[in-house]
Amino acid sequence: MTEPMLLDRRQFLLASLGGMGALVLGSCTQTVDQGTGLTVRLPQGATGFPSPWASNADIGYAQMSLLYDTLLWRDGSGELLPWLAQRYQSSADHLTYTFELRENLRWSDGRPLTADDVVFTFDYYAAQGTLPPPVIIQPPQGIANVAARGPSTVEITLTRPHNTFVGQVAAALPIVPKHVWASINDPVGVDDLKKLVGSGAYRLREYNGDGGAMLYTARDDFFLGAPFVKRIEERAIEDPIAALAAGQTDAGRGVGLRADTLAPFANDTFGKITEQGASTLPLYWNLNKEGPLSDVRFRRACAMAIDRRDLVNRLAAGRGLPGNPGFLSPANPFFAPVRQYDFDVPGAGALLDAAGYRMGPGGIRQDRGQPLSFELLISNAEAPLSEILVGSLRRVGVELRPTAVEIGPQLFGNKLIGKYDMAVLFFPGPGPGGPNTDPDVLRVLFSSKVEPSLQAATAYASPAFDDLAEKQRLAFDDGERKALVAQMQQILADDLPMLPLFYPETVVLFRTQVLDEWYFTPGQFPTLQDNKQLFITGRRTGTTIRS
């Protein structure tokens, strides 16, 4: 007995065609949704939990900043905009800053945002101590007192004047609601979406764990008005450039992209912005270790043995700048010319000879009977660089043993606690547009008076540098500051506690039909990732901020 047929052949064919048609229609991505507004798709998954204390690195900060606001914010030209604060003023001695909040600010749960929340935020940060890397925003230093002088007035007093307070604290520290966080003792461990009550332009609708996809939707009651972009979809994509070409995302970012990679985007469908010095890969020596690593002659010889211009050619397809021993990128407005340690293998060998590191068995130099053989801690993603470094130093009799690890605890943790000989770690900056433009970054990274941090040089101490670093932070005159920063760069180039290897060109490609203007924000701290203002104000025709 045969089973009765539910569909005859003709019906089956029609149903199949109908199904295929539905699939085709469904797969046609409609980025501009006429009914609900614009959707932007970004090629990155959640980088940590998007709270101020658990969002990781620069991408995580950008994701968190969609939910939380700061007192001030930078627009596409780098100008500081009134944000939660509609105005501020500083005292003549630059010790006291008074911020006047906007009226009728509200958290996403409808409760009012007041000066008490701002005071609470500063106090709460101060109570946390150092946050685990790679959380970017750390408790601000040098705050003497934060007090509410009314329901919408906050007065912040510093222990000493600091010329980056406005740009790197007031415009970077996310303000959080007291009524949510006051009862939480361990904010780093919070992963409850209900706690993500912010003042930001977006709500987080979907979160699928660290690395997972996220969906943000616009808050029409945002204090600057309904955002231009209504939905932001983020999901991890391994090759954003290929995904952009395939129509799976609306923007893609890369560094040192080859010409053949860029070629498919040279048409009106796509836009492109580029930035020099937005990131670098510095080579760290662990100065805590005795022997060659703490010998400046050894470090100088290493610098001479590495052809930094060739690194640009090989690893960035010629699109970038060679590393500057003074740390700041040549594109940075505070850059000063310093000694460069030009590529010179015989010269490097001679320097090592003069320092007493004689050639030993197997072509490896020795220091008091011990071979010059060092572990190189480096991310898996930088494997080609490690291979070039191994070859470069091998030519002068120095052996590198790469320990290539995933970006994460093995890399960050070991670097932070100084468990390495030499290391290469990605650094966001220090070019003119994007994070760490301000030369105070030199103080943060190299002053022995500053708490050790992930990106800082290990165990470098120079009283002369420390003195200059303190002076420049107190200088509010650009000319005076430039002169001080130039001296700081000279000292760094002489001592070489760290050597930027190269600054690859950073490129953002985007689909112009969705958003026709993207930008790197000059001076934006702490990330050059997508400035949220772009999504709030929208296209070039509508970039005037609504204050």
Binding site: A242, D260, P264, R314, A383, P384, I388, G391, T403, E406
Partner: protein, 298 residues
């Protein structure tokens, strides 16, 4: 009345079974496998003669050169010759195949055959250990070890060998137990044959075919596992291996936007695939010839 006596004639002796070496010569699969493996061995042994470049030398050429008379398969991003890496990568695969295969079979003899011959508590304890080791998930264990930073060649080799010992120990133990119960073993012992005599004349010939097949099969698995680990970036990052070559190639941003995958990904992928295929077919081809079941059942 004449009684009819039916005499059961012995089954016709299969030529293949009687002369396995004759059949091996005739098997096209085996021939293919052996030829490929021979080429791989020659590549590994004569690597310095096949290429003038050191596979680790970034100064071999410019970055990402196209194939030319100087660089037959072009260069990678640091400027290393890809053909040199391909040729020298054969060494890594062969070392893994030989060492992991040998260690796995040595472990199998230790865990399977020896306790089976000793019997008693030793055999029971060993059997439990084998069952425990069999329960370990192989690939996740290797990924865990690699991600813990124990990604040198030796730890990886040892773990691959450790994973290969239990399944082979089970097979060898069964055969050893079977041999122990055979009459000819008791007869040999009854006629005064010492343990070494029995081992040499009865156990070794009875187990050797299984050891050979097990070795080839596990060598194939080991090459695949090592390539997989290095492809995932969990192997020795300073080594030269086919898996690592694929890892580096696919880490190249948007490699499929350019034709470079044709001379970078394709040759390595094909070489790896064909080598694995060769090892597999050799194992498959050897199995019927060496499998004791094919001699005893008909």
């Amino acid at each position: 009345m004449a009684a009819t006596v039916e005499v059961a004639l012995p089954p016709a002796v299969d030529d293949d079974r009687r002369a396995p070496h004759t059949r091996r010569r005739r098997s096209p699969l085996l021939a293919f496998g052996l030829v490929v493996l021979g080429v791989v061995v020659l590549m590994a042994v004569f690597a310095p003669l096949l290429t003038q470049y050191d596979p680790r030398d970034p100064a071999a050429g410019a970055a990402l050169e196209q194939p030319s008379a100087r660089h037959w398969l072009g260069t990678d991003q640091p400027g290393r010759d890809i053909f040199a890496q391909l040729v020298y990568g054969a060494r890594a695969s062969l070392v893994v195949a030989l060492v992991a295969g040998t260690l796995a079979m040595a472990g199998a003899l230790l865990l399977g055959v020896l306790p089976a011959l000793l019997g008693g508590a030793t055999d029971r304890a060993s059997n439990r250990l084998v069952v425990f080791l069999l329960a370990l998930p192989g690939a996740p264990l290797l990924v865990l070890i690699g991600s813990l930073g124990l990604n040198g060649r030796l730890p990886i080799l040892l773990v691959i060998a450790l994973l290969g010992a239990p399944p082979n120990a089970r097979i060898l133990r069964t055969q050893a137990l079977s041999l122990r119960q055979r009459g000819f073993i008791a007869a040999a012992q009854g006629f005064g044959g010492g343990p070494l005599y029995v081992l040499r004349h009865h156990y070794v010939p009875g187990l050797a075919p299984l050891i050979a097949v097990g070795f080839v099969n596990w060598a194939s698995v080991a090459v695949g596992l090592e390539a997989g680990l290095t492809f995932l970036g969990l192997g020795d990052p300073s080594g030269i291996s086919w898996g690592l070559m694929l890892n580096r190639a696919l880490a190249q941003q948007s490699i499929y936007f350019s034709p470079m995958w044709i001379w970078w990904v394709l040759p390595v992928g094909l070489t790896l695939t064909i080598t694995l295929l060769a090892l597999t077919v050799v194992g498959v081809a050897l199995e019927p010839a060496f499998n004791p079941r094919s001699h005893t059942s008909s």
